[in-house]
Amino acid sequence: MDETVLRGIVPGVITVLVRRGADFAAAEDAVQEALAETVRERPGGEEPVRDAKGWLITVAWRKFLDATRADSARRAREERVEGQPVPGPVPAADDSLQLYFLCAHPSLTPASAVALTLRAVGGLTTRQIAEAYLVPEATMAQRISRAKRTVAGVRLDRPGEVATVLRVLYLVFNEGYSGEVDLVAEAIRLTRQLAARVDHPEVAGLLALMLLHHARRPARTAPDGSLVPLAEQDRSRWDTGAIAEGVRILQAALARDRLGEYQAQAAIAALHADAPRAEETDWPQIVEWYDELARLTDNPVVRLNRAVAVGEADGPRAGLAALAEVDESVPRHTAVAAHLHERDGDLAKAARLYAEAAHQASGLAERDHLTRRAARLNARLR
């Protein structure tokens, strides 16, 4: 059976078990076990089970009962559970939305919320999550079980804040490494699943944002792994299907007139996607969206990126003036200053700033990129 299809039904199955009386932590464990057994015994390519969800529920429920019976200290719960009616047909309606809220609960640290979401909503194994975040499996197992203990008292029957869920999905999208599981694609899958369950313009905005950025991925890195900046990307390698879908979703969201930061960020990405060549980018409109974004969030990175856009729209001097308003401690401040001075023709200063920015860089590919910029300018200055 297709593992992604199976994983897609995981949150629904957990929800059914919880509704039948299992607590969330035990239900989640049972579904993971059932999933592992299913993948083990029915490797891909076999004929699909007609009702995969009903089937996974049956296996998971049996796992849950086995675990409950094995634990004599939980006898009281066993009696309560066994008093439940025999499982009947599965309701078609999917009320697993509550699981998204639970796994992104504000009482969890961002890292715990990410891990729990990937396991309980995404259906990934602890090993896959550990690999994606480059930590030992035992560490990730602890992170997940602590997260489960933290939310143990939270009722599953009431909605939470959509914003907290979106923040977690954004984190998965933005900071995932590529291991066995592609976390960027996984974040899109989970956001798509969320968008199908909750009607909210910011959910649509985040999905559009992800699609529009994901569309550029084939052009973002050179074959040797080095970063290719937006202006130098081969735009013929952008995924036009993803762009079209992102733009369509964004337009529908914007039409509802409830602007939020993800929609504004997606609008900026859409304007970049809309330019056949970098020189044709509508920078004045991008600056307007950054102004909008700055009204919605106090994130200083927005003001930094706005300075870049101002530099493109009104020239490097204007960009430097906008940059002067941004706190120098904001990451990438020096890199932006270097870029604007280069465009202003002050190559010596730009080279010095690129080298300084490389020294401050928090990422390896970013550091290499900035070092190359500095080296290129220094070669021209010799």
Partner: protein, 135 residues
């Protein structure tokens, strides 16, 4: 999440407050010190923040490419080497503040007289992968 290296040097930093060489400690003080380090690692495993820890032998060789068709050149130790790395721990934490807090705890490991050593530990962030969203 961000990964940090807690680097323990024998040399290269100012002397610690409780600066008595380990071989002058009472045997039970050494046991207490090692126990503290192990407990610290166990606690980080339990909080889901532990990545790795290793201790290094104090002496090693310096190795250099020897040129086309020649074996590598080994040399050292060099008298001018001021630094010596004793070992490290890698943690994966939510914030820089948490990393500082943990480094402070590790530096409180007991030494002579059961008093905290207050040794200097170097805290270095790992370089990360590029983010997906770039503007």
């Amino acid at each position: 999440m961000a990964k940090y290296l807690l680097l323990k040097h024998y040399r290269g930093a100012p002397a610690s407050v409780n600066d008595v060489p380990m071989d002058r400690w009472a045997p039970e003080e050494i046991t207490a010190h090692i126990g503290y380090m192990n407990d610290f690692a166990d606690r980080l495993r339990e909080t889901g923040e532990y990545v790795d820890s290793q201790a290094l032998a104090p002496e090693g060789a310096w190795v250099q490419y020897g040129g086309e068709g020649r074996p590598p050149v080994t040399d050292g130790p060099f008298a001018e080497t001021k630094d010596l790395i004793a070992g490290w721990m890698v943690i994966d934490v939510d914030s820089y503040d948490r990393a500082v807090e943990l480094a402070g705890e590790l530096s409180a490991a007991p030494g002579a007289g059961g008093e905290p050593i207050h040794e200097w530990l170097e805290l270095r962030p790992f370089l990360t992968e590029p983010p997906t969203v770039t503007e």
